[in-house]
Symmetry: C2
């Protein structure tokens, strides 16, 4: 199955968090399955906050990219166009850190679209480690505005 | 002037976002000046979202570390203890992306403590590029819990 991010056109495929064309980045890959988006990611040992735990900025970053992917897929399905043909950016992101996220295990992200309306999508994301939720987020995503045309 | 993060003890100085002891990370440095925290950071060319603009995950990351630094300094001042002797972690973070953040210029972060009470601090952060606000955030920070003792 192709990842949502791998279906983005080349000119918007350089995101540090999820672009397949950014060799420095995380290259997060989110998969659309039965109306939700799923991603897995194992942080590097240096992605630490307090030693032994994952840096909160990485958690927010993964959630951000997974949310835009969730929106891109949900909106494409709603519009009846191929996944990857619509690109979303984040307007607002709220992350609640529920528990310290252990470093050294694979993280799972689950993205659920809760509102898909016109140019806007609201998505809820849960990030878990070993089956335990560590962060929960709500993101408001909007279609990429013309002011963000790739430069 | 010493950065807030450079005053943290060694065992909590490895944060990917702001730890002086993490050679892979961003090493954000926040300075406490007249009741607010100020930081400056120039993203790398590969910290891109859509080409030409800064990746939202990096923006959230910088805000996260600047907020914990703001809380650490504000709480230390309130308690009459040296800055660096208290360490905070993020309980909740809301980032509103006001405008696309241009890549290639220095970013400025301003952190204002709006509530300092016991083990909790609320901080507001504004991230600007060239004097224009690009993101505004509200963070709830709490003293590092014992469950996060460095491992």
């Amino acid at each position: 199955m192709q990842a949502i991010q791998d279906a983005y056109p080349d000119d918007v495929g350089h995101c540090y968090g999820c672009g397949r064309l950014n060799p420095h980045g995380h290259r997060l890959k989110s998969y659309w399955q039965d109306g939700v988006a799923v991603a897995r990611f194992t942080p590097e040992p240096y992605h630490t906050a307090i030693p032994g735990f994952v840096y909160g900025g990485l958690i927010a970053s993964l959630i951000d990219c997974h949310a835009t992917g969730t929106a891109a897929a949900a909106a494409a399905v709603a519009d009846g166009v191929p996944i990857g043909s619509l690109r979303f950016v984040t307007a607002s992101l709220t992350v609640d850190y529920l528990a310290p996220t252990p470093l050294g295990v694979e993280l799972e992200l689950l993205g659920t679209p809760v509102e898909v309306k016109g140019r806007k999508v609201v998505a809820e994301i849960v990030l878990s480690a070993g089956g335990s939720p560590c962060a929960r987020a709500r993101a408001v995503l909007v279609r990429m505005p013309e002011t963000m045309t790739p430069r």
